[in-house]
Symmetry: C2
Subunit: 387 residues, 2 copies
Amino acid sequence: MRDVAVIGIGCTPFGEKWGSSFRDLFVEAGTLALDDANLSGEDIDAMYVGNMSAGRFIEQEHIGALIADYSGLSTRHIPSTRVEAACASGGLSFRQAVIAVASGMEDIVVAAGVEKMTDVGTGASVDALAGAADREWEGFVGATFPGLYAMIATDYMSRYPLTREQLAQVAVKNHYNGARNPIAQFQQEITIDTVLRSSLVADPLRLFDCSPITDGAAAVIVAPLDRAREFTDTPIRVLASEQASDTITLHDRRDISTLDATVAAGQRAFKTARITPKEIDLVEVHDCFTIAEICAIEDLGFCKKGEAGMLTMEGVTALNGDLPVNTSGGLKACGHPVGATGIKQVYEIVTQLRGDAKGRQIDGAKIGMTHNVGGTGATVAVHIFGV
Amino acid sequence: MRDVAVIGIGCTPFGEKWGSSFRDLFVEAGTLALDDANLSGEDIDAMYVGNMSAGRFIEQEHIGALIADYSGLSTRHIPSTRVEAACASGGLSFRQAVIAVASGMEDIVVAAGVEKMTDVGTGASVDALAGAADREWEGFVGATFPGLYAMIATDYMSRYPLTREQLAQVAVKNHYNGARNPIAQFQQEITIDTVLRSSLVADPLRLFDCSPITDGAAAVIVAPLDRAREFTDTPIRVLASEQASDTITLHDRRDISTLDATVAAGQRAFKTARITPKEIDLVEVHDCFTIAEICAIEDLGFCKKGEAGMLTMEGVTALNGDLPVNTSGGLKACGHPVGATGIKQVYEIVTQLRGDAKGRQIDGAKIGMTHNVGGTGATVAVHIFGV
């Protein structure tokens, strides 16, 4: 198999994009990525697009063909494929693009992600998102996503020494980072008090523990490493691309506070890349809720179970800490357009490894990781990148 | 890249499966495929599943994780990925499985397809299917799928010498074949009169020109060719795996009676397999409507434009003809559970190349082809198989 590199990246600003359609969003992201790689559409061999639920959000399926068509690429009849794994759709789209290039089947491949969530009301949106969990055993009996992650938080806090303030600090840190990211949905700093005084959503999770409903799209372009310098002076290598599954329901898990698919995908990724967690300079983890970031840091092997809250409060995961986590602002502050999130994580790591992250730049960053979760952990994609 | 072979196949009976859930269907197909390959779940390295619109049919997304979980494979945390391309979802799922094995990334991979369409009413089902076309420029202004294919038929019949009786003969032939296929939804023969006297759906297409709403699932297992004989005495080689896109709307096409994505994918497949159309012993084409089979036969290069109706009436595409088309009964008579169709086509070709098709067996069949279309031709997958 061939080594693969990222040669171009693009991302729309995230937010409530009333003025942009689903189609506008992915064309904007794709154009930015092509410009970034000094490519035109003529150079693209294939596309993958991550999208969770356009069927329910905009009554449109067949997203691969739609994105190829509106990107002006269907006249060349390139393969264009939609990949879906709920909130991990973007991560899996990226992985399929990597496999297509690594296999030798394609050379220049776009991996995109897009979601337009605000064209339906909040109730319909929450119901569509419940399709990421088990509809029959969770959704139909009233479990929403905040409810499911609240169960994880409750279980976790009953077994490990995580305080409410430490949990809030995850959101405080991510808003601090988001305030330094021009594409972030929320670019304002908050305090622990902001979180603790916000509305209770599902005990113990409050409004500021939750990622928002977001519109947005992101696109990255991958190529064989040995051709990457034709297109960019700063190719970023894909050192590992791994994916794992788990039971779709929480009640079937061995331990609901440990996401075994994160553990499995993380371990495989470190093995493939032949590095240890200590060598990671920064990581984008899937913080759909604050508790999810706590679990991710531990399940990826960056510290022992029960320690992530303390490390967060000590600043270890802050911009100037030893292991910066979610420098983009994460899902919490940068926003969470579901299918786009996994690609936005790649966009952030590549931006950092290129040294282009300006006010949130991690000096000397050489190895970065992305961690993208579907549902409550039934799908996890982990990627490791290096300069 | 490595050569790939199909080592196991399974398919549920197709029909209105009131007694089976979405989950029951894919577990049934997967179990049949594992048994056929003498494998257990422990042997599977990864899964792909084609599904068009579970979000709208059963309010469930995250189908890759769901299928891995209910197949008992999530405890090993294998990658499991849903692929969507409307009615070509199954064909693209198979292609991703082929790429995963060809790349060397995985060894034993399941490619499945499933759709449970009858859990919603016919109106909701037709509306969900309209998500395969352009919702904004076709669906919202009233174009249904029968309406779009009726436009193709009207255009075609105004330019080429296709008679209404020749069109009906496509359905007559496919029902004849379906009557010899134990998994077919419709196992009764019909006459040209049956078609011509059936209700008008969208002029000139009548009820018996249209494929039905169907529940069903199919699964096949692929492996590296050099390991295939560990699992089966009759491995079937994948000689070509190609995919093409086109504009999602009909009105943007160069010519609505020619599916350019079929032309492109077909030409690439013949080139990859290094054979000509004359060497194909049988083909499963995407006959969602009778006119679609006429176009497919021509666009794949089996005859000139305008000749397929005459060839059909002459029996060239019948079971005992020179080029048997849709020996399974096709979408028309075997049924069309959208996401499963592309995998069912592979199931049929493998069954034929093994010599196991009993009453519909094509004697001495050595090379077969599948042709799976999304929407009105915005995505096409073509595969060629050999003994």
